[in-house]
Symmetry: C2
Subunit: 387 residues, 2 copies
């Protein structure tokens, strides 16, 4: 074990190194605040920031597979500008700033600290009716700070309303352009939601539609949907939203076996028309590899006949109906009526939307489109960095 | 137990009912070929095809949550046109055709039979060089059968080449319009891949680029990518493709522990530019809820510094490097040089692409774009039904 005592440019105790030691597989750094970081040599070599290993645009050029698994430094030292210099056995030299190392320390305590700083979802119920997340189009289209707040609401609540959107057909496109890109589908770049003859989709009727994910039969599912009211009168057609993640977490705690059926058993969603045949199979409740909620697909209109092991049919129906009844429970729902110039956006993998029956003669006309979270979150990240 | 003997319109033994019995929870149907089907009552009620329960467009109107879990028929009988009529306890009447029931029988043997008929992926290695999946643009743009074959290749092999594509800028858009829609991103609807000054992405340099997924930092990842060669000379820039699913299945069988690290531990992919900040965390090898391969994300250029439990860092590097070395092994790769007018499309969640170094002076100019599998598979399904 080789030891070095190192004085770095003192900025604060979180970035001030008090000791460095070369352990067998790791570089051990003691910090002025008492924290100890251990960095594996292979990790350090892989993250060498020199221009040979990393392009000026930040992309890694070093081929990670070329690093010997037993790589070790031959020496380590402080240099004048406060950086830590590592000379590797093959002569390659890496310089790391103490700040960068501390920021990327993967000790349990530092990871826990960073996790706390991450934005967290705000799960909600009908109580959110009192403070619906909303903004004005004239604000968010002219003021970056207002846009930042609106996008933050969408991220945290999985939906937000927007008022005072001009009722000119196609304006929804300008709303999307504030943060991202329209996802074009067989329904077009923009689609008109109104009661029509011979509708290919129940959306284009005057029927009530229960809480659902849009396009669960599509892979990839559009992550966001916007609906913009161009005209409407008072006769029905209220909008209802429900946070399926809130409901799914309750189901997980109250009925873990039912949750398991919905989160492991794939079902098929199916949509067909003369020129379209879309199919996707997926569990109703999608989990990521950590077991956390990733995406809910619930759509009783387009779910295909269940087609799996006979012994699972009745338990699955029990779970499906429990979840469905919870999603239909007004205690979990917010409900409002879009007026001309109103728009809402939902995270289509989390917040289900529904509408009450309306009357064909009522001139209800919405325009809708799909967009994805890549652009939305990128725009928000950039606003968060710059404001 | 109530029994009925039923004569249906005989078509063939697979659709001819010889006996029907009302069991406690299921309808039991004996078929002329000896098969026995059991349909749960709740499943039958849920799939009632009457116009009240199902819209003429095929979408289900019946609210599944309204079906009592102990629902039972009050009577069952054959009717003249060969359909099976079920009268439910509440008086609702359902008619099922024997053919529909047999097609949807979820017994183990019938499900196994249907599974065999599904198209299966053709995993490949360098041996595929002898018979690269390819077609001519003039054929697929004028002949539905040729288009069907080309789309089938893309589905089965995860990629295909296309020749004789006009070298007019923007023609790639017309190729996508044969089957789907462009996914617009911050790179534009179409992007130019050539060596530029101050590139925001290593794609826009003359550097060699190893096998990678495009845009793993985007959620959702574009499922397909097209690259169209407008101009090129002989100096480098060969294209290399590798079937990551083939390699991942080998890894699973040879190094199950390494496979487990790559398929369970999420890693972060990150891309940033002045106006863009995209991030997505996901395991390198994505599995569906059945444990089958769903999507591989491998991109050594944009993977962020590993940030998880210290004890997992070295085992993860071992797995990552094993997988990376296999992906870089020419035994698994096909290699070709795009000539002006050539194009390839890859399933970006399965087939990784790479290129060899080229020389900036060589006038290599590709145009690229992204598209998704929803449109592609829908077009193929419709062609398969109609041709």
């Amino acid at each position: 074990m080789q030891e070095n005592t190192l004085m770095t440019t003192p900025t604060n105790s979180l970035e001030t190194v008090t000791n460095i030691a070369l352990e067998e597989r790791t570089l051990a750094i003691n910090w002025a605040d008492g924290h100890l970081s251990l960095f594996h040599y292979i990790w350090l070599r892989d993250n060498c920031p020199c221009p040979e290993c990393r392009h000026p645009n930040g992309q890694k050029l070093l081929e990670t597979i070329s690093i010997p698994s037993d790589i070790c430094p031959s020496s380590i030292q402080a240099i004048e500008d406060g950086q830590i210099k590592i000379v590797w056995a093959d002569g390659h030299v890496s310089h790391f700033s103490p700040r960068w190392l501390r920021t990327h320390c993967y000790s349990a305590s530092e990871r826990a600290k960073r996790a706390k700083e991450l934005p967290s979802r705000k799960l909600w119920t009908a109580e959110l009716m009192a403070t619906l997340p909303e903004a004005s189009y004239s604000d968010i289209s002219t003021n970056d700070s207002a846009l930042q707040k609106w996008l933050t609401m969408i991220r945290d609540y999985g939906f937000a309303l927007l008022h005072d959107v001009p009722t000119t057909s196609g304006t929804i496109k300008q709303v999307v352009e504030l943060f991202g890109y329209i996802r074009e589908t067989n329904y077009g770049k923009i689609f008109d939601v109104k009661s029509t003859a011979n509708p290919i989709n129940v959306a284009y009727t005057d029927l009530a539609i229960g809480p659902h994910t849009d396009n669960p039969y599509r892979n990839p599912v559009p992550t966001h949907q916007l609906l913009h009211c161009l005209s409407s009168d008072a006769a029905g057609g209220d909008s209802i939203l429900v946070d399926s993640f809130q409901v799914a977490e309750l189901l997980r705690s109250q009925e873990p076996n039912q949750f398991k059926h919905l989160s492991t058993q794939p079902v098929l969603f199916h949509f067909h028309d003369k020129n379209i045949e879309l199919m996707a199979d997926t569990p109703i409740i999608g989990l990521d590899s950590r077991g956390e909620l990733a995406a809910v697909r619930f759509n009783n209109y387009t779910i295909a006949p269940l087609d799996f092991e006979a012994d699972l049919i009745e338990p699955f129906y029990e779970a499906y109906c429990t979840f469905g009844r919870m999603l239909n429970n007004p205690d979990f729902q917010v409900r409002f009526k879009l007026k001309p110039g109103d728009l809402y956006i939902v995270d289509n993998e989390r917040v289900l939307h529904a509408r009450t029956k309306f009357f064909s003669a009522s001139n209800r006309h919405l325009q809708g489109c799909y967009a994805d979270r890549d652009g939305l979150y990128s725009r928000l990240n950039v606003l968060n960095s710059s404001l």
